[in-house]
């Protein structure tokens, strides 16, 4: 008996339609600016953004740094904040899901802090850390930690109770059940958290940089506003979107690989 995996081909429409939709979107955008329906002082055409993109690759003026430096600064801040939020939020959420003591201790404080938008912490953060990288990492961390905790918590709570009973009849300890059943059961939700936290981190990054920064993609956007350069604003926005999408795609690939058995 041979068991072979069956390869499923992606339908042609799912390859062509996305190309069509992206193409139409950018053409329409270019047209409404070029024809003057929207004045170029309010919105930059894609062609203008591409032109500025090519210039900003090498020219640090007028905002003080080339594009790669902005992206590097933002990426560094976001990445550190993101990793810290995963490192703290996921274990906390997982433990809260399974161990009553952790849930009892952590939940009330978490529920109190959760509704405060991270941006509201900026003034305090400036008192504490100044406008250096630490403060921004803290804001980004705050944004990322909430979805990590919630998703990991819910993921553990959704563990199939029959599996837990099965493990108990074999004499598994609480810790064994937590590690061998609850954590793998929570993985799909945890991977969801990776995506959601990334978005939260990235969004808060721009917020943090808009208020207190001297370099970064958010700073590029706020400089574009101050200098009344819509193309620079849009360039900053596009870079934020593009980098976010690339990281999101990478996480999705990783998820597919690790969760091969769970997907139905």
């Amino acid at each position: 008996m041979a068991y072979e995996s069956v390869k499923v081909e992606k339908p042609l429409s799912l390859i062509l339609l996305p190309i069509l939709s992206v193409f139409t979107f950018f053409s329409a955008w270019e047209l409404i600016v070029d024809t003057g329906i929207v004045p170029s002082t309010m919105l930059a055409a894609p062609s203008a953004v591409i032109k500025l993109f090519l210039i900003k690759l090498t020219d640090p003026n007028p905002d003080g740094a080339i594009l790669a430096a902005h992206a590097w600064t933002s990426g560094k801040e976001a990445f550190i904040g993101y990793l810290l939020s995963l490192a703290f939020g996921l274990p906390l959420g997982l433990l809260m899901g399974w161990f009553t003591v952790v849930r009892g201790l952590a939940r009330p404080i978490f529920e109190l802090i959760r509704p405060i938008p991270p941006i509201a912490w900026i003034p305090l953060t400036i008192f504490w850390f100044g406008i250096g990288i630490e403060g921004k990492v803290f804001i980004i961390w705050l944004g990322g930690v909430v979805p990590c905790v919630i998703n990991a918590f819910v993921g553990v709570r959704m563990t199939n109770p029959t599996l837990i009973q099965m493990a108990r009849t074999y004499g598994a300890s609480d810790w064994q059940i937590f590690v061998q059943l609850c954590i793998p059961s929570a993985l799909p939700m945890v991977f969801g958290a990776l995506q959601i936290a990334l978005v939260c981190c990235w969004v808060n990054l721009v917020g943090a940089e808009l208020l207190a920064a001297d370099q970064g993609l958010g700073y590029l956007i706020s400089m574009g506003r101050r200098l009344a350069l819509p193309d620079m604003v849009v360039l900053g926005m596009v870079c934020v979107g593009f980098v976010g999408a690339v990281i999101g795609y990478a996480i999705e690939r990783l998820e597919c690989r690790l969760l091969a058995g769970i997907r139905r």
């Binding site: 029959t162 099965m166 009849t169 074999y170 004499g171 061998q180 058995g261 997907r263």
Partner: protein, 251 residues
């Protein structure tokens, strides 16, 4: 203490009682299971079979009485209890092979013993070809075979089965029942098989306990002294089946 075949008593259930508030579900149940015996338990729907098994497997505490393994109060951490549930209990993130190994891993069996046992059992139940597939790639009957293999793999002191084949069609059922008997005969485990299917009970068991309606107690004990492989149309088989049916009928 030995049973009618001269085997020593392995499992002793004394005064097993369970109440939920005022509702008496299990009423002072007493019985023994001999080492290596295949005991079936049948009873009318809603007689508390699941509560009964949950008490025996220590998933829920008893109100009175207890279950003893070799004279000691059963403890899942110390004794090898195994339970095959009616619904599939495969871990979706483990391959077939690792699923079968799960019970042995929980009990910290040494690596080489796990490997040897896995090879033996997977070959015996015909899962060797599919050992590296994930549960979502195999059929429902295979999932139940995984659960049964996992239970036998830990060399259980007591293997409890809660209508393991209740959701499968008749042909597969006969096939898996034969397989179960083969496993039991080879590995000499002590099996407690709960079912509401009387024919199934007579087909697999050496002895059948018939439970009453709630509050549940043991109404009768029937010895199934038939040679194996058993035939469903053997007059003696039919006679025992009728006898159990008469005992169980509540209409």
């Amino acid at each position: 203490m030995t049973d009618y075949l001269g085997r020593r008593n392995k499992i002793e259930v004394k005064n097993l009682t369970r109440r939920f508030g005022d509702l008496l579900v299990l009423d002072h149940i007493n019985f023994t299971v001999a080492e290596g015996e295949f005991l079936a338990i049948v009873g009318p729907t809603g007689c508390g079979k699941t509560t009964f098994l949950n008490c025996l497997s220590k998933l829920i505490p008893t109100s009175e009485g207890d279950i003893y393994v070799d004279g000691e109060v059963a403890n899942p951490k110390k004794h090898n209890l195994a339970f095959v549930f009616q619904e599939p209990t495969c871990l979706p993130w483990r391959t077939v092979r690792d699923n079968v190994a799960y019970g042995m891993e929980v009990k910290h069996f040494p690596k080489d013993r796990i490997e040897k046992k896995l090879n033996d059992i997977l070959n015996m139940v015909g899962l060797a070809d599919t050992a590296n597939l994930f549960p979502n790639q195999v059929s429902a009957s295979m999932m139940q075979r995984i659960a049964v293999s996992r239970a036998f793999a830990v060399d259980p002191d007591l293997l409890m089965m809660d209508e393991p084949y209740g959701q499968l069609d008749i042909k597969l059922r006969y096939y898996l029942e034969d397989e179960l008997i083969k496993l039991w005969q080879t590995l000499k485990s002590t099996v407690l098989f709960v079912t509401h299917n009387i024919e199934e009970a007579v087909y697999v068991a050496e002895r059948i306990l018939v439970l009453s309606n709630k509050p549940t107690h043991i109404k009768a004990e029937v010895l199934v002294d038939l040679p194996r492989p058993r035939s469903l149309i053997d007059p003696k088989f039919v006679e025992i089946r009728k006898q159990v049916t008469e005992l169980i009928r509540w209409w």
